[in-house]
Amino acid sequence: MIIEKLGCNDMFTNLPQAACCPAPDIFYSVDKATWLALAARNLCQAEYRGLEIVTFCNGCLTTLLRATEYLSDPKTLGDVNKVLRRIQMKYSGVPGVTPEGKRVLEPVKVRHFMDMLQMDIGVDAIKAAVRSPLRGLKVAAHCGCHYLRPTSRSTIEGSRDPYVLDEISEALGAESVDFQDKLGCCGAGGGLRAHGFGLASAISKTKYECIESAGADCIVTPCPFCLLQLDTVQEEFEGRKIPVLHVAQLVALAIGVDRGMLGLDLHRVSADQLFSRLGRG
């Protein structure tokens, strides 16, 4: 929907046979060999067709980006291809030829949607597409860990002073407020949420308190897992509820996508106050 409205439909196509990235906490944490082979299988889908991969999720980003890094080692690549041979696939990753005889020159490029918003679409084009500016809205920009770290991978910004999410928010007419521990974790990652021993909520609480005291009207994040955590965990906290949006939802909100198509009403924290804050109640 927002891709249509931003006029970049032709930049995207589907990878109909791509599966789970796979999830870092389930696979990378317990068996790197399986993690890498499943990730390589997804990378092959793009490599055969000469495509870049773009994802809306920090977890997918970290898995696929790090997988290309691991696969740049010839021995590792050989081991993975031994597994992939059983499903008639091969990841090249270095100069080579696909089964269809196509030359491949570099590893599959893996990017976050944020990267596309900034580099391909551009802040000016986003500004130009704005129909209902988010004037007066104070946004807390939470990048999430795996968008920023580890920095050994190649992302567009470093890990110490990210600016893209703030720039996008401001291009939409909102104000990005600074808050303490901005680059800190939401609490969900590393299996903490899934393991369910209260640590995730305790970390989220610290995050929430920093954002709450900065006076933010909403939280925006490029990561669905941070969104899920920071949205659902607020049921456990006393005090003001702060709506949490994915960056795609924030863009959609400003470029005139109908409320019913934003998915905001599926979140636990009601979006009503957000709309009344924008004078659209």
């Binding site: 999830a23 389930i26 499903i87 860990c145 770290r149 590393g190 640590l199 998915g263």
Partner: protein, 169 residues
């Protein structure tokens, strides 16, 4: 060799699972000062690394899941070891010695069954359609093939046996 509770081979085991150069830690505590979890628990990252160096395997393996894998320690460690990777190596060892935690089994099983983690309920299908998305997140024409490929990979790496999941009927 286990000597008074100190497992002399523990560091080598960690390194073999990609845990990095455990020996290089000189206990400066930078990792702990940037760790969101260390603020909340007794066994801080620095303590865990020291216990690894000393070979206190049993004690360490009672806490390996206490890490958000946020990689902040990695960004700041002056000794250029990667404490997050050390924790990941500990998880590898724990799963092999004591078996996986329940959530790993459940999520792995749903990926082996359907190629993705969230269960595809009729409610989710309906919501996706209402939002103008394909009803299915993996193209249904390919679902069978995708799942077969995933199961073949899991079988080839021995993941099904390691985790204790079933690959099909």
């Amino acid at each position: 060799m286990i000597d008074n509770g100190f497992d002399r081979g523990f560091v080598d085991e960690i390194i073999a699972f990609g845990g990095g150069n455990v020996h290089a830690c000189f206990q400066c505590g930078t990792c702990t000062s940037v760790c969101p979890v260390s603020l909340k628990v007794e066994n801080k990252v620095r303590n865990i690394i020291k216990m690894c160096q000393m070979g206190l395997k049993e004690r360490v393996l009672s806490t390996p899941w206490v890490c958000a894998t946020c990689y902040r320690c990695y960004e700041y460690c002056p000794s250029v070891i990667d404490p997050t990777e050390l924790i990941v190596a500990l998880r590898h060892i724990m799963v092999r010695d004591f078996g996986p935690p329940k959530f790993v089994v459940a999520f792995s099983q749903s990926i082996a069954d359907q190629g993705q983690m969230p269960l595809i309920t009729s409610r989710i299908k309906r919501l996706r359609e209402e939002l103008g998305l394909h009803g299915e997140s993996i193209d249904e024409r390919f679902r069978g093939k995708v799942v077969r490929e995933i199961r073949t990979i899991m079988e080839a790496t021995g993941f099904d046996k390691l985790i204790g999941i079933k690959l099909g009927e």
